[in-house]
Amino acid sequence: MTTENLNCANCPVHNAANLIKLGVDMTNYDYVIALAGNPNTGKSTVFNSLTGLKQHTGNWPGKTVARAEGGYSFSDKRYKIVDLPGTYSLLSTSTDEEIARDFILFGQPDVTVVVVDATRLERNLNLVLQVLEITDRAVLCLNLIDEAARHKITIDERLLSKNLGIPVVPTAARQNVGIQELLKSIQEVASGSFICKPHRISGEIKNVSHAVEELNKKIMEEFPGLPNTRWIALRLLEGDQKIIDAVRSGEIGSLINREFQTVES
């Protein structure tokens, strides 16, 4: 559907920076956005409403079998958006989880949007917390807020945002509710006008804090400027083969480059 009949979203006062759906046109993008989330949270619906693409959405898990990509333009910036397969975690190893994790880590998206089901927040937060361990530029898309209302669940999104340290946007993507706000939050995080202070897991520090700190120091020495050294230290301690290989080959260092590039340009 190319014509959206949204009352507020069409009003120029409300919406100075208009969304232009670019479909599969992803040329000359300024920012890369990753779309992560549990299966069946409406990720593909969010993807479709941003890009105008019609990736088939169905109410069942596992239907996004491959990575889908699309583009949109919002307030003069062009965005490339990557729909990752739905996963419950980024820890254990299934193909889906590896694709999602590798993209968030090595693909270095400018913003990772985590779509969560507002009616099942607690379980969905497990993935959010894991994403926040890897990246510090994220936006939480609190989707299916209409469903939550139907189940008489209310969520204090300001408090949630404060706890997670990232913007939280309530949406009902199927009804196109909250998409404008989501775009704005993505833009703020991408441009750096909103600085995320992501929540970091507290519990595990108790018995391994010494080891993490020591490793962290060494990694920072070897790869100055690497954004997520603490997470890498933890992965090394867990014996994550993929990360071990990336450190051994120095590939992990490539994550720094982009940071320097942004500084230079």
């Binding site: 069942w60 820890l91 209310t154 969520i155 507290s202 060494k218």
Partner: protein
């Protein structure tokens, strides 16, 4: 310089290794524990529920009903039957209307224009009687049932019913050594086998994925629903009094669909016990919450994504098939047309397994698309039994305004209830369409498995038709 770096990196890894020994195995668990703890803490702070817990949870109640050991399967069959019944009874009238416009009105009109333009008779035959009528027939027969069936199917999908079907089927698939997710790909196959084959990517294990791909053809695809529905209406509906005809034909179609599921289980079992040995791997299937379907959007997307898409494909394949039919009916070799020669040649074997030469030839011509089986069968029947007063001449595909007309043509061609039943069975058990075969090759990258997936169902179909015919001749 790089050497030094490399050493430094190895040092990091070595110290990580050392620490890992000190910390022990529990790190992974304790990280997960703390993630869960933090998630719980945060959500307990920000989520509030309306104090009074509802006495009656609709979602839980529905789930109990549709996934229960006792009511799950019967409900599934009832839902399927209702969907087919609505499709069968709802499609008749619009079908006849479209047919009367495209064929009774537009076809003579086109003929007139062409006659005025003075083009040679054979070109007129190929284009108007072959290509145009094939397209007209496909549209009038397929559009109404699809426009009813797909939105209903999409609504069920949108509502969240399909994962429940998968949940019900999961234990059966695991028992036969296949992956539980095969229940999902099977459900996709009910729409389109090529889509079902692609959907098998959600299965990680290559062994189980192959089983899912090979057996997907046992899900009746939308190209075959119209055949099933029409033949059931004529031969099964004709067996009972008109009041129950709709219900009886719907029941017959459901039975064929269930038979397809049974065959997919049997074949999966056979494969996993012989050439694709192995244990079923486990997975977790989340039952998504029920969501009120967005009716208008569903109507729109199912019309655009499914109905028009499938219809377009049918037309694209029907047009060349119409040309081929016209040609085989009009090119003569030694006094007989190619079509008649083939039918005469195939008849002995075909009759032996309870089909006829016409059906065999129709399935050869219709390899590109199952959708055109019925028009091809009708045209060939008229041709081979030399009916006069029906149809528009040699090799002209035509439309008959209602099922009774179709029935009279088929009966004149020597069809019995047995032929009807066997055609329904053969429509379920025969080679996949060429698109699906090509998709299987693209997904497996293996000629051997592509050939197996293509020929196995045909062999099964011949066997099943043969046994049904023998039993029929003994008991009837």
């Amino acid at each position: 310089m790089t050497e030094i770096n490399k050493n430094k990196r190895e040092l990091i890894l070595a110290s990580a290794n050392k620490y890992r020994w000190d910390i022990g195995e529990n790190l992974h668990d304790s990280i997960i524990e703390s993630i869960y703890k933090d998630a719980e803490e945060i959500s307990s702070k920000v989520v509030s529920r309306d104090g009074s817990k509802p006495k009656f949870d609709v979602d839980a109640f529905v789930d109990k009903l549709v996934t229960s050991r006792w009511t799950g399967f019967p409900l599934m069959f009832v839902i399927l039957a209702v969907v087919f019944w609505l499709t069968i009874t709802g499609a008749n009238y619009p079908s006849a209307m479209i047919a009367s416009f495209l064929i009774d009105t537009a076809h003579p009109w086109l003929k007139q224009i062409v006659a005025g333009a003075g083009i040679p008779w054979w070109l007129d035959g190929v284009l108007i009687d072959g290509a145009y009528l094939a397209m007209a027939w496909v549209i009038s027969v397929m559009l109404p049932p699809m426009a009813i069936f797909f939105p209903m199917f999409t609504l069920l999908e949108d509502f969240g019913y399909l994962p429940r079907v998968a949940f019900n089927m999961d234990s059966l698939y695991r028992k036969v050594g296949a992956h539980g997710k095969q229940a999902l790909t099977m459900s996709m196959g009910f729409g389109c086998n090529a889509a079902g084959v692609i959907a098998a990517r959600i299965i990680d294990s290559p062994r189980e994925r192959l089983i899912a791909i090979i057996t997907n053809n046992f899900s009746l695809c939308n190209g075959r629903w119209p055949t099933q529905i029409l033949i059931a209406t004529i031969f099964i509906g004709g067996l009972v009094s008109p009041v129950f005809a709709g219900a009886a034909s719907a029941a017959a179609v459901v039975l064929i669909a269930i038979l397809g599921i049974v065959f997919s289980l049997i074949v999966s079992w056979g494969l996993s016990k012989t050439v694709l040995k192995g244990e079923a791997s486990t997975f977790s299937l989340e039952l998504p919450p029920y969501r009120p379907p967005r009716i208008l959007q569903t109507l729109y997307t199912s019309l655009i994504d499914r109905t028009i898409f499938v219809l377009w494909r049918a037309v694209v394949f029907a047009v060349p098939a119409g040309v081929v039919i016209w040609l085989v009916a009009n090119i003569h070799i030694g006094g007989l047309s190619i079509a008649e020669a083939f039918i005469n040649w195939a008849d002995p074997f075909a009759l032996f397994i309870g089909l006829n030469g016409v059906i065999i030839l129709a399935y050869v011509i219709a390899i590109p698309a199952n959708e055109i089986i019925i028009p091809t069968v009708l045209m060939l029947t008229v041709l081979s039994s030399k009916l006069s007063g029906v149809g528009g001449g040699t090799g002209v595909m035509f439309e008959l305004d209602n099922a009774a007309d179709v029935a009279s043509v088929l009966q004149a061609g020597g069809w019995t209830v047995l032929t009807g039943i066997n055609l329904m069975l053969f429509s379920l058990l025969h080679n996949p369409c060429s698109t699906t075969i090509f998709t299987i090759y693209k997904e497996t990258k293996n000629v051997k498995w592509t050939v197996v997936s293509t020929l196995l169902p045909v062999l099964l179909g011949i066997m099943v038709c043969f046994f049904v015919t023998q039993l029929w001749r003994i008991f009837a």
